[in-house]
Symmetry: C2
Subunit: 340 residues, 2 copies
DNA sequence: TAATACAATGAGATCGATCTCATTTATCAG
DNA sequence: CTGATAAATGAGATCGATCTCATTGTATTA
């Protein structure tokens, strides 16, 4: 409520002096400074950031757009971003796009109007994105998260999805699995899902195994589940599946168990993301762990560097294979020692 | 970059007219309006929200503070808030307090400086909160979420924790459970945990059963788990436990299963919150579902009403008991028909 | 055509903090 | 004690949009 001018008046000095008392106290005589502080105290003065932002042409705000907060991958990344941003004196404006291009557009436009100092985005497809196209013409620093760098022209923070997925596949192969499939959620088109599928294909080929087509579980409907179940039976039955994300892996695992399958006995299930909850399940989820917190922190620090005008070409962050009880030795071999 | 003044110049009109072309087009002659729009187009004019905010003394921003985004309850609530806020033309500044009073204080101060139009907070203890005490003196509308209304003096959005917890307890009792315990996470002191324990005690007493002291699982350490395991054995062994939140229930369930217990065979486990993931687990989590999305939406709408100056005394939102496979008939009765 | 009403536009102040530049006051050396 | 250098302070402009009030312009009617 009370503004600097009132404080200045009460203290008997000019606005300039009052302002200095706060921003550069050493330029003000101690006695004067005290008078100003006292006046500020009495009036419960609280500096108006909006005015500061207008004047300084910098908002100390970062615009964040994630697809959804219902997926813990994004929530966990955001948690880390918030801490890092706050530590640096920045605030986050958080938005969700639901992967909708039109929402993406509206959101970014809105944030640019708000004059955020920088943007951290996760889009559906970085290579073919209207928003990014538009942003290329703007001077506002922009950083992608989770999206592969590709040829979008924007720096990107995340893991090497292809390599990570190949690692996951190799892990299963090492355990003796040969009939390995990959299951994707509704966002088949997402650039990450694509890369993860590539990595899977690569690792399969490398081992002389045949990669199967991506199974799509659009929604967790019964129909989709049946299709998958079918793939789990017969001579060509899968012994392991990799899901393109943990949420999918967890619900798939639940459905399978509910349908009478044993995980990993009948089928090993791997996830991708490394959400915290996966560790506590039983069977615990074997997955590729993306360093979500690290990704969030790095995103903030990189963006701040960009805001300072530094050139940034961040390297992919390291992923890790998190062992878990949801993956085991394939049944065919196991069957010699124990039969269900 | 380009401001209204440049647009006005290029269009050959005054700032006032240019401004009017956007805010009240009908006050401007169509021909003039076109000139302004063309100029704006050419210069890639984008209205500066910061200036509008300063001028209008309203930011159309809502400050949100949650304890953590690592817990899906808050993330899911936030997801709904974001959608509702955006639909109303508001943006969210999102922060996390980690339940730390000092962080709570800093965050709120920061948001007040930012001149947010209102605040939506979830604090550790609403009844004994320094931040709320300070906020009572401010004119900025403030709303609590999840915190029981108590005597904080602020309107609050959430379910009736005591009633919900009693319902959970009665559900178990109805199934035949008698030796029911309650387990809390690290935040014993949280006002919600307290109310949930009260509800449990009430329902137990009502049925003539003895309520046990709250078991604290500070962290998911082995030590804590052993304490709990002990409670599950011997003549006074529990047949069911209610956890004060889903995250805790899920990890407890996992640990129990890993230790060789069967859920719900040996022990029924109930959660509290209703996070989405619980539905997809196996066994699926039986829990009290707080309408997280509804809570988020209602919080935004209520706050907007408060910002408009309306008096608000929101009623508690309805909770629901979500059936789940993690709860079953107590073993003692079951043992007649089948023995492990 | 003159007079009145109303539409369209412009000049200038305002929101709150801060920066530049000019001015005043204090301090030190000679 | 005075001139000179430094320290402290103030006046006013600025950031960008918008509101009030005054003024110019058009239209309607007697």
């Amino acid at each position: 409520m009370a503004d600097l001018l009132s404080v200045a008046k009460l203290a008997g000095v000019s606005r300039a002096t009052a302002a200095r008392a706060f921003s550069s106290p050493d330029l003000v005589r101690p006695a004067t400074r005290e008078k100003v502080f006292n006046a500020a105290q009495q009036l419960a003065f609280r500096p108006n950031k909006v005015a500061q932002q207008l004047r300084s042409q910098a908002t100390q705000m970062i615009g964040v757009m994630v697809p959804s907060l219902d997926n813990p991958v994004f929530a966990e990344q955001l948690q880390a971003m918030e801490v890092a941003a706050r530590a640096a004196g920045y605030s986050l404006i958080v938005t969700t796009s639901d992967y909708s291009p039109s929402r993406e557009g509206d959101i970014v436009e809105e944030m640019l109007r708000q004059r955020v100092d920088g943007l951290v985005l996760t889009v559906a497809e970085a290579d073919n994105s209207a928003v990014l196209e538009k942003l290329r013409l703007e001077k506002t620093p922009c950083l992608l998260v989770y999206n592969p760098p590709g040829n979008s022209g924007f720096p990107s923070i995340g893991v090497d999805n292809r390599a990570a997925s190949a690692d996951a596949t190799r892990h299963l192969i090492t355990l003796g699995h040969q009939r390995i499939g990959m299951v994707a959620g509704p966002l088949l088109q997402s650039d990450r899902a694509q890369q993860r599928f590539d990595g899977y294909c690569h690792a399969m080929g490398e081992a002389g195994l045949i990669a199967r087509p991506l199974v799509e579980m659009a929604r967790h409907t019964q129909a989709d589940l049946k299709i998958l179940m079918t793939a789990l039976q017969g001579p060509e039955a899968l012994s392991a599946v990799i899901c393109t994300n943990d949420l999918l892996a967890i619900s798939l695992m639940g459905e399978l168990q509910r349908a009478g399958f044993n995980v990993p006995g009948d089928l090993s299930v791997m996830g991708f993301d490394g959400i915290a909850l996966g560790k506590h399940l039983y069977p615990s989820l074997c997955t590729i762990e993306q360093p979500r917190a690290d990704i969030g922190r790095t995103a903030v620090h990189t963006l701040l560097a960009m805001i300072r005008g530094e050139e940034c070409t961040p390297a992919p962050l390291p992923h890790a294979l998190r062992q878990g009880e949801s993956v085991g030795i394939p049944t065919s071999r196991k069957s010699t020692s124990s039969t269900s």
